[in-house]
Amino acid sequence: MEAVRGMTMRRILIACAVTWVVSVGVARAQTPAPVEPAAPAAAATAAAAVPITDADIKGIGGPSADDKAKGDPAGTITGTVNDIPVGDSKKGLTVADVVNTVGQNVIASNFIWTLVTGFLVMFMQAGFAIVETGLARAKNANHTMMMNFMVYGVGMLAYWLIGFSIQMGGVAPNTNLGGLAPLNHEVTMSLFGKNVGLFGTQGMFLGGATYDVGVMVMFLFQMVFMDTALTIVTGTAAERWKYSAFIISSLFMGAFTYPIFGNWAWGGGWLATLGANFGLGHGYCDFAGSGVVHAVGGVTALAMAIIIGPRIGKYTRDGKPNAIPGHDIVLVLLGCFILAFGWFGFNPGSTLGAATSGNLRISSVAVNTMLAGMAGSFSGMYYMWIRYGKPDASMTGNAFLAGLVAITAPSGFVNPMASVIIGLVAGVLVCLSCEIIERKAKLDDVVGAISVHGTNGIWGVISVGLFADGRSNYAGAWNGVPGSVTGLFYGDPGQLVAQLIGVATLLGFVFTFSFVLNAILEAVWGHRVTPEVELQGLDIPEMGALGYPEFVLKEEGATV
């Protein structure tokens, strides 16, 4: 039977390999020769253009009231000149009215895009909640779910109070969202003769001048990203984390840890300006947050895992790990799908707009996201199948997420082929990393968050420096450096150095900061519940109610 299974396995692998090789060959064969752009024709059109005057516009007529009254099943007479608001009824429609309407439509479509994708990212909290709860034991279901539920509110409060101000308080100007002019003060210091940003100061409580429509869009989008980072830690420390300690730790992370690195990478801080100030490519580039969101969450989870220690029963006295299976694999895989759906907000939404400035690349970002996730689940599943004889479901889910985490930073800068490679590497990397974390480092990570988000977040950051193909064009520049982000394989080694400085910052600064904060909290408050509470399950002692009151829970150490 085993031999037959082995042969079947080999046949599947060979079939997949052949399919892959043939696909690559066909794709190359179908690639057309580059076509020179029709520059002369475009130039002639530009030369023929004449300014539009108010008189030209006055001659444009819309559909009559009678025509509109008949209905518009084809949609051809809805949205015409009649729908452009007139500034001065005495003058009638002017060029200024038309131009202002066009400008507002650009910003409106960017607002809608960024808000809707932000709503998708918010829904990822549901995905994280059921993945983590499914991977925990039934006796801790209420506690794990409540951590995931309240991390949203706790994080948001901290971010509204001060976090947003630190991260984005000096980010203006941002043309996609209408300027964000009120976010205009960044505290700087001199580093090797250059002024570099450390943290922003505008936007605390969203008061004063930051009571602004563009700032609100930015706040909502950044806030849901921050919450994603916070919820990563709850997965690692589940089943033994004191609920009150979780609240305090999450407040600090939402207020300080996440926003500080967020400012350095996205708020105009020193990492973002490594290119403009020190000639390192386009500075640290992290399109949607492999580093800012996932690696920050991952290294904080690593710090927590060291401080809080493994669950009772995770290791034998000679240090061998015991498997502690989660209680609901259905929840886990459903959660992975919800997360993948939310990732279509995470990555394509990070353009912060759909109109102008090269933002139509959202289609490419979305496809890259899909491909990397698929590739990750594929390689992770096969790794587990070959190594352990079964296509482990929870690790396949984690590999799926690992592919998505890894493509998050490069999704806006790479092509589909690179996305698949990044995803394939991520799928295997997460399995290897889980083994090392569990067996060598002897750290108990309930859901594999350190490997999924930390290790693969870092891989995603590095992959920008390798695979960015120099074909993206977001308003002609990135981080204040003209041109497209280009990685080592496409000719810019400086970009890889900038990315690695980002990695060093994550490991050396963010980890240390998180570790010290949580070590202080451990000393004054304590992170871990008592052994009695842990053995009983955290639902009753910590939350006062079982997640599944009608389940019969077996006692720790009992055999069936």
Binding site: P310, Y315, L500, A504, L507
Partner: protein
């Protein structure tokens, strides 16, 4: 040893960040940053984690 781990981990970051001022050639910067990353990893997994593992509950 835990304190030493924190210091070494942070020193790795300082070394990597200082690469932009120490050298102008990207290859030299790359080497310095990689040494910084290795130092931080050494601090975390070589010093800090073993310090906490020494009194781990599962050893008792």
């Amino acid at each position: 040893m835990a304190f030493a781990g924190v210091i070494v981990t942070f020193a790795g970051f300082l070394l990597a960040a200082s690469s932009i001022g120490i050298a102008t050639a990207n290859s030299v910067r790359l080497v310095i940053v990689l040494v910084g990353i290795a130092l931080s990893l050494g601090g975390i997994f070589g010093l800090l984690n073993p310090a906490y593992q020494k009194n781990a509950a599962w050893k008792r």
